[in-house]
Amino acid sequence: MSFELQVNGKARTVDAEAETPLLYVLRNDLGLAGTRYGCGLGQCGACTVIIDGKAVQSCDLPVSAAVGKNITTVEALGTDQALHPLQQAFIAEQAAQCGYCASGILMSVKALLDVNPDPDDAAIRAALDGNLCRCGTHSRILRAIKRAAKEMRKA
């Protein structure tokens, strides 16, 4: 079946079966590999994208359910020339080890900061409840998010 999707501000047409998870359409049909597969069950958050302003795990969301909605992936966060403040802060705080969880975490936090530019520690941790990190970089990630939020409020 053919589906028309709004991805990172562009209309994209893809051919896939209706129940195919959005994740595979993004990665394999649209070449947006920044959204990662971690569990396929919506438990780890590596595949998080923003759909109509909300952080959503794309690994168990059928592509048919994403039609007509605005989908944002990590590729639209910043550009090589102008990194998003969150990306800059992750580098400044060296807030990664393997980095595999980073895309999903960045998108969960972007969705949070879009509605709450000055979140406290508890709000950040709550927004990341669906994101796992196995390397144990949590404290650096929390620090990076606070740093980015501060930068973004200044801007």
């Binding site: 590596a46 966060l77 980095g99 970089t137």
Partner: protein, 708 residues
């Protein structure tokens, strides 16, 4: 005495000893860049950045000039396995000395060209200048023959006081593309015409395929091939989602023998099995009895690496030869095992490393590579990408072995330890590819012509496997340490961060707390009084100072703090930890303090990042983690079955590095596991009076310990 006719070649530093040609490591390019080909690989630990620093330092070039080539069996030096926190000592020291020799050769050429002596030369970012005037760059001087020679060790690397790049916290070279969501992992590889594979595993390790009706699967949309070889089953399809659906259907279409004979899941099952017993340390008279005797038994369950990304590989056959991309920690041993399993020459297999997600030991990276090669063989010419599903990874990765540690000690009338006994029971901690007399690849055991596994074993002491960190660093007058190795295991076991050091250090440090209490001593002071090594004492003193530890401090029924210490492998990183816990419905670790000494810190922030990550991971394992299985197979198959510490639960961290630039650099990556678990157990005791000797520290265990 007969004189040797030729002097034996000099022993070279690190992996240079086994890969002596300089051009195996470094190439100076005419375009102003330097190509570096390490055999060690990035597994999320940031090693490449440290290797860049060590190389740039000796060459006197800017770090930005270095181009790293992914390790490949085609050209890279064989550095064995990237494991055991040995990459700095092996790969780092090799590059340090290879770079120093390369610089020496370049300076010789420069001196000739400029018509001056070596003493007159200085180097800045690859430009060699003579004091008397005139300069020439590496890029002009280098020719392909320059490094086409073996290292001599005639050139001495810089002393630490000369270091300008080493010892700084250079930002990780690999992070920017990762936080930009670029396709950097093997999971992201795309080759022209690439197909997707999935495997359908048996219901358990003993089950075998009885029959299969593959017709339905073969007719599914996109399916290109169904692969069956003995009990190895898989599918290749055009689209990834098609491969997933087809593999699920394939699993349902297969009839398996059950092989339901796994024992109950209890580490103490080890005590019932036939063991190979070896006394690994004996000192004084282990029969010495002090005034008071104590015993305790500690255990650890099966635990998983549980990398965030299930393992993945891409393979392509062409004319009977295969190229494969993998996140394996050891591409050369993997090639050897694959050649045996496929009955083909090693030269016809080219394995190239591509990054995966965080790797904490022998996970399924090697297995998925073999799987991908088997699937791709069915579609010659076509690349096949295979990523295991989450349930494949949890169900089939090699686990860290369960362990039982029994300790006994005698105290004299002053409370000092006069006798110490440590006896442990464990399965093997090393079943990586490269073993002797078999093949350590999952699929190889399931083939129609199966290749048996190599004999499971342990890396030898002093590093050790199950016996890693079993010999106490404390100075006891009488001691005996006994290792009971049970090679055959219900579930496959292999290396996971710290290996046996996790359970051994957990047990030693828990027991030290028990003995300190029996002696009426403060646990910090008690440890210090039994240690001679000044660096060991220094990290304990440092962490006590950071946490404002008060002698004999007591918890309040909810909150408590505990301390622990270990030197990883008794020869690498020193780490002391203080944990603060709050016990309500569950145990919450609220803060961890750490003090670490890795000798010379090549990249101080990189060391801290490793220690911090290890602390959180160890806390997660100690509080929550356990692989479960029934008679047939593993039942912990997803993150709900196997919860790990989440953002809402992670402790605050405060870690200090005691940098010793004058001391040899040692690995940092695995030092945390035992001490953190023990510090948490000791903190729980301090808070509640409940002594937890079995991981994980669940609510049920606390309730049981309170009523004991």
């Amino acid at each position: 005495m007969a004189q040797a006719k030729e002097a034996a070649p000099r022993k070279l530093p690190g992996s240079l000893e086994t890969n002596r040609r300089l051009d195996r490591w470094i190439t100076i390019n005419a375009d102003g860049t330097v190509t570096v080909t390490p055999g060690k690989v990035e597994i999320g630990q940031g090693i490449l950045t440290a290797l860049v620093q060590m190389t740039a330092e000796e060459l006197d070039i800017d770090v930005s000039r270095i181009r790293l080539v992914p390790a490949t069996t085609a050209v890279s030096p064989n550095e064995g396995i990237t494991s055991g926190s040995r990459s700095i000592q092996e790969g780092g020291l090799a590059l340090r000395h290879a770079a120093a020799e390369a610089r020496g050769l370049l300076l010789e050429r420069a001196a000739k060209k400029l018509g001056v002596t070596l003493e007159q030369l200085t180097v800045k970012d690859g430009v060699v200048s003579a004091r008397s005037g005139g300069s020439v760059s590496y890029w002009e001087l280098a020719t392909p023959d320059l490094l086409a020679r073996e290292a001599t060790f005639d050139v001495v690397a810089k002393g630490h006081e000369e270091h300008e790049v080493v010892g700084t916290s250079l930002a990780r070279v690999d992070l920017p593309p990762k936080v930009m969501g670029k396709p950097v992992y093997v999971q992201d590889m795309v080759l022209p015409g690439m197909l997707h594979g999935r495997v359908a595993r048996p219901p358990g390790p003993r089950a075998r395929l009885k029959s299969l009706d593959a017709k339905e699967v073969e007719a599914m949309p996109g399916v290109v091939a169904v692969v069956r070889d003995g009990s190895f089953l898989g599918v290749v399809a055009e689209r990834e989602d098609q491969a997933i659906r087809a593999a699920r259907r394939l699993a349902r279409s297969a009839q398996w023998t059950q092989g339901a004979d796994l024992p109950a899941n209890d580490p103490r099952h080890l005590l019932t099995l036939k063991a190979e017993t070896e006394v690994i340390s004996e000192k004084g008279d282990p029969a010495t009895a002090g005034a008071r005797q104590f015993t305790a038994e500690y255990t650890k369950p099966y635990i998983a690496h549980a990398s965030l990304a299930p393992s993945c590989s891409v393979a392509q056959w062409e004319g009977g030869k295969v190229r494969v991309w993998t996140h394996s920690q050891g591409i050369f041993p993997l090639r050897g095992d694959m050649a045996q399993a496929l009955n083909m020459p090693e030269a016809d297999i080219v394995i190239t490393h591509a990054e995966g997600a965080g790797c904490y030991g022998h996970n399924a990276a090697d297995d998925v590579t073999m799987d991908a090669v088997l699937l791709a063989r069915a579609v010659p010419g076509k690349p096949v990408r295979l990523q295991w599903m989450r349930e494949d990874e949890f169900g089939w990765e090699p686990f860290s072995s369960p362990m039982v540690v029994r300790l006994n000690a005698s105290l004299d009338d002053k409370g000092n330890i006069v006798n110490w006994g440590h006896e442990l029971w464990s399965h093997a901690h090393s079943t990586r590819p490269g073993g002797k007399g078999g093949v350590n690849l999952l699929a190889a055991w399931h083939l129609e012509k199966p290749v048996p596994a190599a004999k499971p074993g342990n890396p030898p002491l002093p590093g050790g496997g199950s016996h890693r960190n079993a010999i106490p660093l404390y100075d006891f007058p009488n001691q005996k340490v006994t290792n009971n190795l049970i090679r055959e295991s219900p579930l496959r076991t292999s290396a996971l961060r710290a290996l046996g050091g996790f359970a051994n250090a957990f047990a030693i440090e828990g027991f030290m707390d028990e003995l300190a209490e029996a002696a009426g001593a403060d646990p910090v002071e008690y440890r210090l009084r039994h240690l001679k090594d000044p660096r060991a004492k220094a990290v304990i003193e440092k962490v006590a100072q950071m946490a404002k530890w008060k002698a004999n401090e007591k918890g309040d029924g909810e909150r408590g703090r505990g301390v622990a210490f270990a030197r990883y492998k008794n020869l690498a990183a020193y780490l002391a930890v203080i944990a603060e816990v709050e016990v309500g419905e569950v145990v919450r670790v609220t803060k961890l303090w750490g003090a670490v000494d890795v000798g010379q810190a090549i990249n101080p922030d990189g060391v801290l990042n490793q220690i911090e990550g290890g602390m959180i991971q160890s806390a997660s394992m100690a509080l929550k983690e356990r692989i479960d299985f029934d008679k047939t197979g593993v039942t912990t198959l997803n993150w709900e079955d196997y919860p790990i510490l989440k953002f809402g639960e992670v402790p605050e961290l405060e870690v200090a590095l005691i940098n010793r630039p004058e001391a040899p650099p040692v690995g940092a990556g695995e030092g945390t596991q035992g001490p953190v678990a023990a510090a948490i157990a000791n903190a729980i005791y301090n808070a509640l009076g409940a002594r937890l000797r079995d991981m994980p520290f669940t609510r049920d265990r606390i309730v049981a310990a309170l009523s004991a």
